[in-house]
């Protein structure tokens, strides 16, 4: 399989996953906006911080209101990771290799982009609502479903999935990082009022990774910050947890050419081992913020190694 094709497939699914994650973050942001009692709506900047878009947003010179932030992250043509641009990048990458994916996969992505263009005409960015975010998630779900149901389990399939899980792990770590790192140190001594707000914030975090039901099933107890971190980092059955993403990424790498993949496979196994054999107590002792920062650095190393091993045009 051509290196360039592998690269396009990998980025195709990374961008699609990024679009979905952005929609998840914005959806939750919007519901939290309704709870935000502070006058300066400081929480509005959270999605900007999660996606590291501070510089790009500052350039717009817009006030940091919820509506402006959501419009920017969903639609802005100048922001490389806006949902609009992620969908376009997904489609452009797919178009470059449309011969290497099934026609159903291509038609699904092309349809998404065509519909997105209609939505750009129809939706007022400042009024972007839950319906749009649901649609974005649905398009992403549909593509994964089509891929699952139509693609041969050979290299294009494995590169497509690898992109999904590397992007998703990165994203889950960022959501967690902001929730815990911004608000307070890693100790949680909060007032009663804070705790009440926190309940909504924590359940919002869980909802953003579709883990609220899983949390209830697993703990059958009140929502507690430590357990939220535990399920999102270590749960081996939750499809958006770090552990699950790394399990899957490791499997994808195992199915790719082994000789050229030695280094990315080693790095993925190292990260995976930390998740497999770690506990939430260790994480909090070490410091959650530091732990997640390390994890993001590890993921960047993995991304670079994947690129060097399979996609660089030496």
């Amino acid at each position: 399989m051509l290196s360039r094709v592998a690269s396009h497939l990998y980025w195709m699914s990374r961008y699609l996953e990024r679009a979905e994650n952005m929609a998840r973050i914005l959806d939750v942001t919007q519901s939290l906006a309704m709870l935000d009692r502070s006058a300066d709506s400081g929480g509005a900047m959270t999605p900007i911080v999660i996606t590291e878009a501070q510089t790009e947003f500052a350039e717009t010179k817009l006030p940091a209101t919820y509506a402006n932030v959501i419009a920017f992250l969903a639609w802005d043509k100048k922001h490389p990771s806006s949902i609009r641009n992620c969908f376009e990048a997904t489609r452009e990458n797919a178009r470059a290799v449309r011969g290497s994916i099934t026609s159903e996969m291509w038609e699904n992505i092309n349809d998404t982009w065509l519909a997105m263009q209609d939505k750009m005409q129809m939706i007022d960015p400042l009024m972007t609502g839950n319906e749009f975010f649901e649609w974005v998630k649905e398009r992403s779900h549909l593509f994964r479903g089509v891929t699952f149901a139509t693609a041969r389990r050979d290299q294009p399939y494995h590169f497509t999935r690898l992109g999904t899980f590397i992007e998703r792990a990165d994203n889950t770590a960022r959501i967690l990082n902001v929730k815990y790192a911004e608000e307070s140190p890693d100790t949680f001594d909060e007032t009663e009022e804070d705790k009440e707000t926190d309940y909504y914030r924590l359940s919002a975090v869980l909802r953003s990774v579709s883990a609220l039901e899983a949390y209830r099933d697993t703990y059958r107890d009140v929502i507690d910050a430590r357990r939220v971190a535990e399920i999102m980092i270590f749960d081996d059955k939750l499809p958006r947890s770090l552990r699950y993403c790394l399990d899957e990424a490791t499997k994808c790498l195992d199915d790719l050419p082994k000789d050229s993949g030695r280094i990315p496979r080693r790095i993925a196994s190292e990260i995976n081992a930390k998740l497999r054999y770690g506990t939430v107590d260790e994480v909090f002792d070490y410091g959650l913020k530091r732990y997640l920062a390390d994890f993001l650095v590890d993921m960047e190393r993995l991304g670079t190694a994947v690129n060097t091993a399979y996609m660089e045009l030496h």
Binding site: L2, R95, N110, S260, L313
Partner: protein
């Protein structure tokens, strides 16, 4: 109800005829249906038609169009409108687009696909197929000859400077051995039908002819939207084109089980959809220049498990971009060192480098001579009468009759540097004559052809529009083609420009099974 605009008498219409060519009972039958269908007044030619047409002449479908005509007349226009919309949606969804240059790095557009087919009888196709085989065979022999022995030049049939002074003649190719002497593996021959009812070859496209994917997609769309039509008549299939193409490419080398790739300039190229489509249909890698490299005069592609040798390349990139070391040094699309590998016989490139010299307008007039010289046969297909202004007798004829002729620059393309006599003022003709006189050898002239028309959906209903035909001829160990080709249609009224970038569309092209037998009994048969 859709109204059908009848064709003017000055054109040959593929479907409808005013004359007695179709049996009278068919005429009256069809007319009844047409009136029922569109309410068009058809018993008299429209106002302004030539007087040669008598009031008694009526409009009817040609015999091979009767089953389709019946179907068209019977189908409610709402159903047609709905299915036309479905066709548009299908093309948009599948992303069958071409790129228009110049707007923000290229904008994707759809090529309009008309749902009224162009139908060719079995006998006519048999004739075209024979003629195309003969023509392409002779052109391949010509290319092998001019890059080696140059017998045709020695025999004095073509002046040496016509070849060696031609910018498309690749001097680097002289003496380079091309496997089996096949230079043009894929040829797209542009054919039109004039108002005399005869077919003429307008151009032989020997470089990187495109359009075959639209031929295939048109058929797929028609079969999906109008399955009942394919039960009425036997339409010969075209879907095996990619298989024939792959066979042709594999046969271009003597290596067993060769690795074949398709080289594209990339996704900003106007024909990118076609490149991806053909690569996918053939199951070969679609590569860009950056995916390939040359080492020790061998060509490799970069893959996720290391480098892999390439044996055959179907290139969709012009000669000059193929190798910056051998041709245009600024080309970022090609592969450095490719030519050297090619010249050593380590890779086959299809079409071969340097085929453009044979589809140049200055060489076109010699194709009938090539057929006689190499094959010792009479040409089957007609060339358009071409006057070469470098010959004194031709020049004086051209100067005297310029207002009736089309005068073209020999290396010109895209409608530049040419004069369409009938569409020009006396002043323009006079000015152009001065230009031709100053440099006669740079010009050729041809009579103005009147392209045949075919009923086509337009805003006002169904009206005649001019069409051409591009069959795709494959040369491997033998010459093969799928029946038909791409029919392009000029969608603007009166326009002769079928090019997709200038408002052209396409039609499905049907070649009927033997003698146009209809499967289902139709009333038309009863009269026989």
């Amino acid at each position: 109800m859709q109204a059908i605009t009848p064709p003017p008498v000055s054109h040959f219409d593929e479907m409808l005829t005013w004359s007695g060519a179709s049996p009278s009972h068919l005429q009256s039958q069809f007319q009844t249906q047409l009136q029922h269908f569109g309410g068009a007044t058809l018993d008299a030619p429209p106002a302004g038609q030539s007087q040669s047409q008598s009031q008694s002449q009526t409009l009817g479908p040609r015999e091979h169009y009767v089953p389709y005509g019946n179907w068209l007349a019977d189908t409610p226009s709402a159903s047609l409108t709905q299915r036309r919309a479905q066709a548009d949606l299908l093309f948009r969804r599948i992303g069958i687009t071409f790129t228009v240059y110049g707007e923000e790095g290229g904008t994707e557009r759809l090529i309009p696909s008309d749902v009224i087919p162009r139908i060719i009888t079995a006998d006519e196709w048999a004739y075209l197929e024979r003629g195309l085989t003969q023509r392409v065979t002779a052109i391949n022999k010509f290319l092998a000859d001019i890059y080696h022995d140059q017998a045709i030049l020695k025999a004095g049939l073509i002046p040496r400077e016509q070849i060696e002074g031609n910018s498309q003649f690749q001097t680097k190719m002289v003496g380079v051995k091309v496997p089996h002497g096949t230079y043009a593996s894929i040829t797209g021959v542009d054919i039109v039908r004039n108002n005399d009812g005869k077919y003429y070859v307008l151009e032989d496209n020997l470089r990187v002819p495109s359009g075959v994917s639209y031929m295939l997609m048109n058929r797929k769309m028609m079969m999906r939207l109008f399955p009942e039509l394919f039960l009425r008549q036997t339409v010969r299939p075209v879907e095996h084109y990619p298989a024939l193409l792959l066979q042709t490419l594999r046969e271009s080398t003597d290596i067993d089980n060769p690795t074949v790739v398709l080289l594209t300039p990339g996704r900003f190229n106007s024909a990118y959809f076609e490149h991806t489509f053909l690569a996918q249909q053939m199951g070969v890698e679609l590569v860009e220049g950056q995916d390939l490299f040359v080492k020790d005069d061998r060509v490799y592609m970069r893959t996720t498990s290391g480098s892999q040798r390439v044996d055959v390349m179907y290139r969709r990139l012009d000669d000059t971009f193929l190798d910056p070391l051998a041709f245009n040094p600024d080309s970022a699309l090609g592969v450095p060192g490719l030519f050297q590998a090619y010249a050593k016989g380590n890779i086959v490139i299809c079409n071969a480098i340097g085929t453009g010299v044979a589809d140049d307008k200055s060489i076109y007039p010699y194709v009938p001579d090539m057929i006689k010289f190499y094959l010792n046969e009479e040409p089957i297909l007609n060339n358009v009468q071409t006057y070469q202004c470098r010959k004194p007798a031709d020049l004086s004829y051209v100067l005297a009759n310029m207002k009736d002729l089309v005068v073209k620059e020999v290396h010109g393309a895209g409608g530049y540097g040419m004069l369409v006599g009938p569409a020009s003022t006396a002043k323009e003709v006079e000015d152009f004559a001065a230009i031709v006189k100053a440099n006669p050898s740079n010009y050729i002239a041809q009579p103005t052809l009147s392209l045949s028309s075919c009923p086509t959906f337009v805003e006002s209903g169904i009206a005649p529009r001019h069409i051409d035909l591009r069959p795709f001829v494959l040369t491997g160990r033998e010459v093969r083609m799928v029946p038909g080709g791409l029919t392009r249609v000029a969608l603007r009224e009166g326009s002769l420009v079928v090019n997709s970038s200038q408002g052209g569309g396409t039609k499905d092209t049907w070649v009927l099974g033997d003698s146009g037998e209809t499967l289902a009994a139709s009333p038309a048969k009863e009269g026989k």
